[in-house]
């Protein structure tokens, strides 16, 4: 065993350290818009959500819209239709906290999306892309592996195709009657749980500051219907007490407040872990597809030869 162990240790030593990803630059965007497209009310603000990026874009002057594709009827303790309604209200509050201008809910039935025609979801997204003409769309990763949530898979595939097809005039030519012109989305920022195997190749990191994380953390627990409950807060404190431990910040808080504090802490922790791997304090990582992505043979040429007018 010892020689084997020695070889293993040697091999581990030879493994390259995870390369630091380039920090992406967010340009000022007084006239720029972005769309966040997700199946659910709360997909933007969990550890692998884009709330940090959203706040960076908003701070830089961009206008953002949140598209919720499902009705979230399964998420929460109340059953439907109560959960649909509460989750939509909380999505509005959470995204408003991030600076998003509006939430458009498509209301497809949550977790029953397999029979929903792919082309129909895509058609709705193409319409919205042509309406808002985003410079950037962010969503779950259309090619991500091992995402067990069927809504994530369904919606991300529709997004992956809509951002491409929206640029072709012969796709839904009826939109012309509304004055909506074709629009190809130049930048796509895709995310997924970055510990879910291969298939997710992040290539940029978005650097976040304290203010970005603070808003992200709040938007996480603002989804009270699914994120907060007193019993968890109570149980966590009891667990700590059983081990002779205490978190001073939790003293004097109600059980619900204690749970909110712990949820916020988890957001800081997740962003710090990502940041630490890439030489910054807080971060979110993405697979960014740039404006010339459809033409890999022309990317270098266009970047070198296109000039300002």
């Amino acid at each position: 065993m010892k020689p084997l162990l020695a070889i293993l240790v040697m091999m581990l030593g030879m493994l390259p350290a995870m390369a630091e990803l380039p920090v992406v630059d967010i340009p000022p965007g007084d006239t720029k818009t972005f769309l966040v497209i997700h199946p659910h009310h709360d997909d933007h603000s969990w550890a692998s959500g884009q709330a940090g990026l959203i706040t960076k874009l908003v701070d830089a002057g961009w206008t953002g819209y949140y598209v919720r594709v499902s009705n979230d009827e399964k998420d929460g303790p109340h059953g439907y239709p109560h959960d649909d309604m509460v989750n939509l209200f909380e999505a509005r509050e959470a995204t408003e906290n991030l600076g998003i201008k509006d939430v458009i809910s498509l209301n497809w039935r949550n977790d029953y999306m397999d029979p929903t025609p792919h082309n129909e979801i895509r058609a709705q997204l193409i319409l919205l892309i042509r309406k808002y003409r985003p410079d950037l769309v962010t969503s779950y990763h259309p090619w991500g592996h091992y995402d067990r949530n069927p809504d994530h898979r369904k919606v991300s595939k529709a997004v992956g195709e809509a951002v491409w097809l929206a640029g072709f005039a012969n796709v839904h030519p009826e939109h012309r009657k509304l004055g909506l012109k074709p629009h190809r989305v130049p930048y796509k920022f895709y995310t997924q749980r970055f510990d879910y195997g291969k298939g997710y190749e992040p290539n940029v990191v978005v650097e976040l500051g304290e203010s970005n994380i603070r808003r992200k953390a709040r938007s996480f627990w603002v989804h009270r219907n699914v994120r907060l409950n007193g019993s968890t807060g109570r149980r966590m404190r009891q667990l700590l007490k059983d081990q002779g431990l205490a978190i001073p910040e939790l003293e004097g808080l109600t059980d619900i407040e204690a749970h909110a504090w712990l949820q916020e802490w988890s957001m800081y922790s997740a962003a710090r872990k990502v940041g630490g791997k890439h030489g910054i304090e807080y971060g979110e990582i993405y697979a960014r597809l740039g404006e010339w992505h459809p033409w890999p043979g022309l990317t270098d040429y266009l970047e070198s030869n296109a000039v300002e007018k």
Binding site: N119, E161, N170, P186, K198, P296, G297, L298, N305
Partner: protein, 304 residues
């Protein structure tokens, strides 16, 4: 029953091994190459040079183009786009050396709403009709390919290749003389979107592996075929120009868009695609494919 099916499949595969891998005696001259493509340009850009080499060496080529490419144009109706692209895709295929082109006519970008079984069986028909020794199909496992038609066609074609070898798929085909057929060699192609495209798969057994093919000898044909796709190329040039102009930039080459400037843009694209594939090899122009030959498809225990 399952065991019987497995044994039958292995027997058919072994038959394929002896029929089609008998070495130089058969060479490419006895080969039939069946290429399945979602659209007019994908197979040309990703595998046109490799296919042209086989056809130059005497293989007979058939192309099945699944969609009608009716979306990829600039200021043309869908109908006119489809008509022009059909003519141009047939011209491109002739340049590469194909004998026939079959256009199935599905609307581009709409394959997500087409039954996968229907698509598979349309392709299966041609597998049994042409009895190819080599198939080229879009790689459905390639990531970051926004044109999902390529994914749907790749999945259907992969399934069709297998189903064509089993008699209980499409029994009516046998009634009209289309017998089962095993295609011994399979190439998966994709343009270089996937950053992990060169990583070896986890095991060589049953799994296609990355393969880089030198296409220097057929590069000129590939380029000429790509340039023949005038409607798609004009669309690409206009899209790039439009994007640049909307962001206060311009590309001198595209200040005046005409046939010459578009052809030059296509040449830059095709040359660079070849250079990307040739990276870290001795080749100047290459294509990256995933290849599953007979040796990958027969379990080792049966080969011993």
């Amino acid at each position: 029953m399952t065991l019987l099916l497995q044994r039958t499949t292995v027997a058919l595969l072994l038959a394929g091994l002896f029929l089609f891998s008998a070495g130089p005696a058969l060479a490419e001259g006895g080969k039939v190459v069946l290429v399945i493509t979602a659209d007019a340009s994908d197979y040309v850009l990703a595998a046109g040079g490799t296919i042209a080499k086989m056809l130059d060496d005497g293989a007979t080529g058939y192309l099945v183009r699944v969609t009608n490419d009716d979306k990829d144009s600039w200021e043309l109706t869908a109908e006119e786009t489809a008509r022009r692209t059909r003519e141009e895709s047939e011209k491109a295929a002739k340049i590469l050396g194909f004998k026939e082109v079959e256009s199935l006519g599905y609307r581009a970008g709409e394959l997500g709403g087409v039954s996968p079984t229907e698509l598979r069986d349309r392709i299966l028909f041609y597998v049994r009709l042409y009895k190819p020794s080599v198939m080229f199909i879009p790689n459905p496992y390639a990531e970051y390919v926004e044109v999902l038609d390529r994914f749907y066609v790749g999945q259907a074609a992969e399934d069709a290749r297998r189903a064509a070898s089993l008699s209980n798929y499409q029994p009516p085909f046998a009634v009209v003389g289309l017998e089962t057929h095993v295609t011994p060699e399979l190439y998966y192609y994709a343009q270089p979107f996937d950053p992990r495209r060169r990583e070896a798969e986890s095991t060589a057994t049953f799994v296609p592996q990355p393969k880089v093919v030198d296409i220097a000898s057929t590069f000129a044909k590939k380029l000429q075929a790509a340039q023949a796709l005038k409607t798609i190329n004009h669309s690409m040039a206009m899209r790039i120009k439009h994007r640049l102009e909307s962001t206060g930039r311009h590309l001198p080459l595209l200040d005046d868009i005409d046939e010459t400037s578009v052809s030059e843009l296509v040449e830059i694209n095709v040359r660079k695609l070849g250079a990307i594939a040739a990276k870290d090899t001795d080749h100047t122009q290459a294509e990256e494919l995933h290849y599953a030959g007979v040796e990958y498809q027969i379990p080792t225990k049966y080969l011993q």
